[in-house]
Amino acid sequence: MKLLLKISDSILALAVFVALMLPGCRSGVKDVKNDVDTLVTGANAAIYEDIRQAEKIFYTLPSPLESAMLIKSTGAQFDDKLLNPIENSRNYNTNRSMALNLGIYTTDLSFASLYDQTQLIINFMNAAKQMADGLGILDAISEEDIGKLEENIHNTEVIMDIVSQTYLNSNSYLEDNGQPAVAAMVLAGGWLEGLYISTQLVDMKDFNGNKLVSRIIDQKLSIDILIDLLSSSKGHPAIDDLIGQVAKVKTVFDKISLETSPIRPEYDQITNTTVLKSEVRTDLTPEVFKELSETVAAIRSNLIK
């Protein structure tokens, strides 16, 4: 009996400890009070007076759907050979590989969706479902979703809605169930796949003035967000390894200059839209682009093994 009581004591103490620690384990919590206090001057100061402390920080990457839309908007052509073959899905048995490839397959699915690749859409949705099921994400992609997808296979808008919903279901499940490291790997996999497809689609004969190259340079703006996102789960072995991989991409991005002028907000009354006006100056040589493309391809090749 005494032994049982001791065990109960230990479990109780452990459970209380975990309960107390859980809120602090949410991703990216950081005190920014001092950061804000030292940087505010002039007209902004009055509004900043109210800003004291952030309880939660969200690091947001372009989603698979957004990445695919960015690629399509440049006029790039579809190439199914660039996507991760669905046959590879049977190789993914660890949480790391399933999380990364859930992101990768969702980007491939988004890419196929925007280019009306009907059979590929169904195949990649099934591959993504396999990854989500393997991670224990309940009802992220239901049989009902697959049925709806098949019924609306020629309706891009409905397909985009389904892809967006299923991605939201996966993210929210992982965040809400205390798995921010797995959630971060899904986001990282999706972003890296978008970068891989973009860099592979660039025709070097048409490098100067290429719109797709401009969108690739823009990804430099997200690399620090990705590192911050991953760093909020530092200490997790798979995340630490991923930070090392992403750091290689950052090293190449650091060779690209990207200067932006201050933003001037202008309100357009006709469209009820604010236009954030600014100019950007970039400098990316074909040599640095080649290095970026090869670095991303090597990392991606390792992720889909």
């Binding site: 509004i47 957004e66 960015l70 808008e157 809400d176 932006t260 933003i263």
Partner: protein, 146 residues
């Protein structure tokens, strides 16, 4: 022994309560925030958390020059309406919901791609005592620039 079992049950309830509350946040975000995106396509990202009166959350995101965006911000009815600020990389304020009739959505587009910082803030309530808390969510919709 019975007391320990009760204590353990209570702890398990405390542990699972967080998950249940978070699940309610997801449901709230989908029901309240998502419809506000209208004809814009939701990007699929999930940003929701529980905040108390006087607390803040921050979000960092890159916005691209080829897109038009709608940001939708919502908060539970049991807390004061959430205010939001949009800042550039130099921390200049580009938009304040408080200075725009406490709007819950904001439509914008970028001339060049930029990383922006968004601050969500629950104002302190009038009542003294324990501050109320509730879900706060922000969602982004996009479409190709017309």
């Amino acid at each position: 022994m019975k007391a320990y079992r009760i204590a353990l049950t209570l702890v398990v309830l405390v542990l699972t309560a967080g998950s249940v509350v978070n699940a309610q946040c997801k449901s709230f975000a989908k029901k309240t925030c998502l419809p506000e995106l209208g004809s814009y396509t939701h990007d699929g990202n999930y940003h929701a958390t529980i905040l108390s009166e006087g607390e803040e959350a921050e979000l960092y995101k890159t916005f691209f020059s080829d897109m038009e965006y709608r940001m939708s911000v919502c908060s539970d009815e049991n807390i004061p309406p959430v205010e939001f600020l949009v800042l550039d990389a130099d921390r200049n304020i580009l938009y304040s919901s408080k200075e725009n009739n406490n709007t819950r959505t904001w439509d914008f587009k970028m001339q060049s791609s930029q990383q922006l910082r968004i601050i969500l803030k629950i104002p302190s309530g009038q009542n003294s005592g324990v501050p109320s808390q509730g879900c706060v969510s922000v969602m982004f919709g996009f479409r190709i620039k017309s």
